[in-house]
Each structure stands twice: as C-alpha cells, then as structure tokens.
C-alpha cells in the first residue's frame, strides 16, 4: 500500500536537507564562482562528526563504555535514545554546531592549496578530495570504517507516534533551512554580496580593486562548508545511521544539477532545483517499490534525466531557469528614489492604501 503521508514527509525532509546543500553550493559557485566539485566531503564530514558526537555523548552520559561503532553500542543506543527528551534535543543542537565548526574549518583549510591553480586543475583536485575523504572514512576505524555508525539518536526519538516524529523533524529541518535561506539572502544583498559577484566575474579585476580575494574565498568557504556540514548532520539524525558509501561523488552531481537548474546567483532557484530533483529521487524509489520488475530501473532513469538536464540547461539556458537580480542595497534607492523601495511590506502597504481610498470613493492617485 502506498502511504502518501510518509512519502511526503520523507520527500520534504530530504528536500530540506538537499536545499541547504544547494544554497551552499549556490553561494560558492553561483555567487563566488568557485566550482566546488567536492561538496560531498563536507556533507559527509558533518554527518560523521554528528554521529560521533551524539553517540559518544549518549553513551558516556548513561555510563556505557563501548566504542561507538560496536554492536554493544548500537544495542545500548536502542535502549536509551528515547529516555531523555532534553538530552536528545540538547545533543542535537550541540552536534549541529560541532559539525558546522569541523566542516567549516576543513573548508577553510582546503581553500588555500586551491588558490593558485586554474579551473581545470581545481576541478580535478576538489573532486579527488571529495572521493579521498570517502576512502579515508572507509578506513578510519574510530568512526566505524566501511560500516559506519548506527544508532544516531533522533532528537524526537522520545515521540511515540512515528508520523508525528517524522513531522516534527521535518519542521525542525525547515526551520534550519529557513534560517540558512534568510542568512544567505541577507549576505548576498549587501556590499559583501557585491564583492562575491565581482570575484565570480573577474577575480583578478576584483583583486586590483582592493578586494582581498583569497581571504574572502576562504571565509566564504568556511561558512558554506560549515552549513553543508549542518545538512550532513541533519541527514545523520534523519537516517539514524551514517556510512561512507552514502557520500560518493553522485551526491555532488545531484546538488550541482539542482543549482544548474535553478540558476546561479539565485537562492530561490536553488530551492526550486532541490525541490525538483529530490522529488525525482523519491519518485523513482517509489516507482521501484510500486512497480517492481520494470524493464528499465527507475533509478537509472532518474540519473539519466539528471545528466540530460545538466547538458540541456547548459546549452539553452546556461544561467538557469530563474534570473539573477542585481544586489539590492541602499545604493539603489539613491538612484531610484522612493519607487526603488523594494521592501515587501511597503509595497503591500501601498496596495492596501490604494484599495482603502478606492473603497472610500476617493480618487485613486
């Protein structure tokens, strides 16, 4: 039987997580022109750091001494993860922060070697970095090696009703997504956003106009990688487990296709791309479940579509579906006068005022 509600919840939660990734990639490549082909590394690092911290803190709080990747640990987690709501939620936020910091720092460090090389070499290097992180994690025993970690405590594990639990987590994910969206949006509509775009357009020219390009890139990479880590953290909590093979290069491509579809320099576009491709992903799994034994595996179709979309969009609408708008700051107002006020509520205010005047039978000016 097909459960629409749980399909929706799973789709939207994954949408939320991938949307954060898409926003991060958009900041890196759409705004700043840094083609990050190793995004998955920060995603994975965030997920693993969360797994590590959350399981370790739970185990030590309840007095267990097992290594986090052992079977004993998994069993223990099963027993205690729904006992203390405050602990769950506290550990959740702590892990999110920890993942942000670790992923962010790695991103910051990675930016330095990539400073002096041109785009072709940069692409290979970052791609390799992403893959190497995965290979490394496969061998890194303390986080479970190739098997990864199980038993990551969901912040709402103490909620008995599964649908409610899923819904609460979805809302939490959306809240974090909204925060990320607002933050990036505010960042982009400021002189800082202008600097980022100038780096994308011509970084040498930007350097010559006094912008400290490598420093700007490194700091941006810190924030964007950190947020990617947060997305990874959310994934870890959502799935309850992490394993290195979940973080292959395929993930990077998925996020890239989202950003390419939605348009660079456009946060709403990133969300749109995430919506479309996460739906595609969920739908193909659902298809597989509902119609087993199809001639062509829907999963393959999904990836083929993704590849085709990338090529088609690059060919016909390289800037994406949604257009990039110029940076809206006070400067705009100086030139446009009062009409330049793009502030939403003022526009609505103007419309309401006109409506009221019309109602009162006065001349509408």
């Amino acid at each position: 039987m097909f459960d629409v509600v749980s399909f929706l919840i799973s789709w939207l939660t994954l949408f939320g997580i991938y949307a954060i990734l898409a926003l991060c990639l958009n900041m890196e490549t759409g705004y700043t022109g840094m083609a990050n082909f190793g995004l998955v590394a920060f995603f994975g690092i965030g997920a693993f750091m969360t797994g590590y911290l959350s399981i370790s803190s739970f185990l030590s709080y309840f007095g267990y001494n097992y290594p986090i990747y052992s079977l004993d640990a998994v069993i223990a987690m099963g027993r205690v993860s729904d006992k203390n709501p405050i602990l769950n939620i506290g550990v959740f936020f702590l892990s999110l922060t920890f993942s942000f910091l670790v992923s962010g720092s790695v991103g910051y460090l990675v930016s330095y070697p990539t400073l002096r090389v041109g785009p072709a070499f940069l692409g290979i290097t970052i791609l390799s970095f992403g893959e190497m992180t995965r290979v490394f994690m496969r061998h890194f025993q303390p986080t479970g090696g190739a098997y990864g970690l199980l038993g990551v405590p969901n912040p709402f594990a103490w909620v008995q009703q599964p649908t409610l639990k899923g819904l609460l987590f979805l809302l939490l994910t959306f809240a974090i997504l909204a925060a990320a969206f607002v933050y990036f949006e505010v960042l982009s509509n400021s002189p800082y956003g202008r600097v980022l775009r100038s780096i994308r357009e011509d970084e040498v020219s930007s350097l010559c106009i006094g912008k400290s390009v490598p420093a700007v890139k490194a700091k941006l990479l810190f924030v964007a990688s950190g947020m990617s880590g947060v997305a990874g953290s959310l994934l870890a909590f959502y799935l309850g487990s992490v394993s290195p093979d979940m973080f292959g290069t395929a993930v990077t491509f998925e996020v890239w296709s989202m950003v390419i579809l939605g348009g660079r320099g456009n946060h709403v576009g990133a969300l749109l791309g995430a919506l479309v491709f996460s739906l595609l992903g969920r739908a193909s799994s659902a298809f597989n479940f509902l119609f087993p034994g199809l001639a062509i595996d829907p999963n393959y179709v999904r990836w083929m579509l993704m590849g085709a979309v990338i090529v088609i969009i690059l060919m016909y609408r390289p800037k994406g579906i949604l257009v990039e708008k110029p940076v809206r700051t006070e400067a705009w107002r100086v030139f446009e006068g009062e009409e330049g006020r793009m502030v939403f509520h003022r526009k609505i205010g103007g419309v309401i005022k006109k409506a009221l005047w019309w109602l009162m039978g006065r001349e509408v000016r």
Binding site: Y183, V186, L187, S190, P191, Y192, G193, R194, V195, R197, S198, E201, D202, V204, S205, S206, L207, C208, I209, G210, K211, S212, V213, V216, K219, L220, V223, E324, P326, V327, T329, E330, A331, W332, R333, V334, F335
Partner: protein, 252 residues
Amino acid sequence: MGPILEVQGVSKSFGGVEALKDVTLKVEEGSVTGLIGPNGSGKTTLFNVIAGFYQPDSGRVLFEGRRIDGLNPDEVYNMGLARTFQNPRPFSSMTTLENLMLSPRGQIGESLAKAPLRRLWSGEEFKIAKNIKDFMSRVGIADLYKMRVSDLSGGHIKMVETSKGILGGARLILLDEPAAGLQYAVGRGVFEYINSLRKSLNLTFFVIEHRIDLLFDFADYIYVLHMGRLLSEGKPKEVASDPEVIRAYIGG
C-alpha cells in the same frame, strides 16, 4: 610637491628573458607623466610590477615614501594606487552602479561578519551612492546606472573603467593606453578629462600611451623604455627630438 612614485633599480626576468633591467624613474605628484616605448619594451611589465602583480627580482618601488614592491595588488590599491587595463576588465554581468560601488576602499559592509547587520553599513552605503551619483551626473553617465556593463558601448565601458580608480580615492592612477581604439577626438576628450581631474582632485597620472601626438600635448614629463631599459627621459619636446628615441622606434 615631491615624487609620489619612485621606481629604483627595478629588474624583472621571466624564464631567462629580461623584461626590465635596472629601471629607475620618478613620478611627480600632481603631474601627468608618460611612459612610451616600442612594443615589447616592458611598459606593461613595469606597470605590473608597480601594481603588485609581480615582485621585482631586484630594486624597490616607493609610493608616497613607502615601499610597495612585493605587496599584493589589493594591498597596493588600498594604499591609494590604482591601475587600469588596456583591455577593460569590468564585471560584465553586474550593473554599472554595482561596478562603481565596488571601488571605494574599506567598506564596512564588505566584511563577512558585518554584512548581515544592515544598520552597520547602510549609512556608509548611502553616502557612497550619493557620491557616485554626483560623479556620474557630472560626467554624463547617470542614467546608465542600472544597465549591465556587458550592454554598454565600448566608450562607456572605458569610462567606467577609468572612473573606478578615481572613485576609490586613489591618488596615483596608472593608465594603460587610455586612448587605445578610440577616434582622435574621443581620445583627446579622454586626455582633457584626465587633465581636468588632475587639477580638480589633485590626482597624479602615470600613462602608457602609443598615441604620442595626444600624450605629448598633455604630459609634463616622459620616460622612454626600450628593451626593458630606460632609454631616455625629459619633457615632451626634448624626448621628441632625441635621436636615440627616434632610432629605437623606427628600428625596433
């Protein structure tokens, strides 16, 4: 009024090719100083060294009494030394306004930490925009503000390019062939504009130019480079009649 820029014994080689050899010159504050020489004589390389693209192999560069050789291009700009490129490098898909708003140095809103807090930088932003609006009106390009630079005409793009350094409060501007590709009248207009700025804003210009006829009408002092070395220097009239210079141009 002393020298605003001093190049002392600068040499630079690239893989065995000596692009600059022991070049020494001074640019007086408030002047229009010209740099001429046949193609390949090292003029742009000298500009690149001054602007921080390259570190000289030997020698020093002093700006307002401070050593700037070895500084990176952004640091050089922030000290008040701007440069333009022969082929303009504007930020094409951004609007004219945005391009110009990038020039001022040390904007508060440009830091990652401060950008989300609008209140911190909106005042400064407003002031800068007003300043730019005045400037654009005076120069006659005010209604271009919202056009993407890629849609502007070649002449306008050059104007935007040249304005960037000025709006950034630079005191010395390196101009790389400002009249290149322009008709005589337009080129002359550019030089007249430079001249008026020199007086009104007390700027100094160091200009590479191939159009010697134009340059010599406006320049106070000329340096001639040939094969990486300083061949001659002096007031325009002196240089124009220097037989060595003439030989270099015809021969090289």
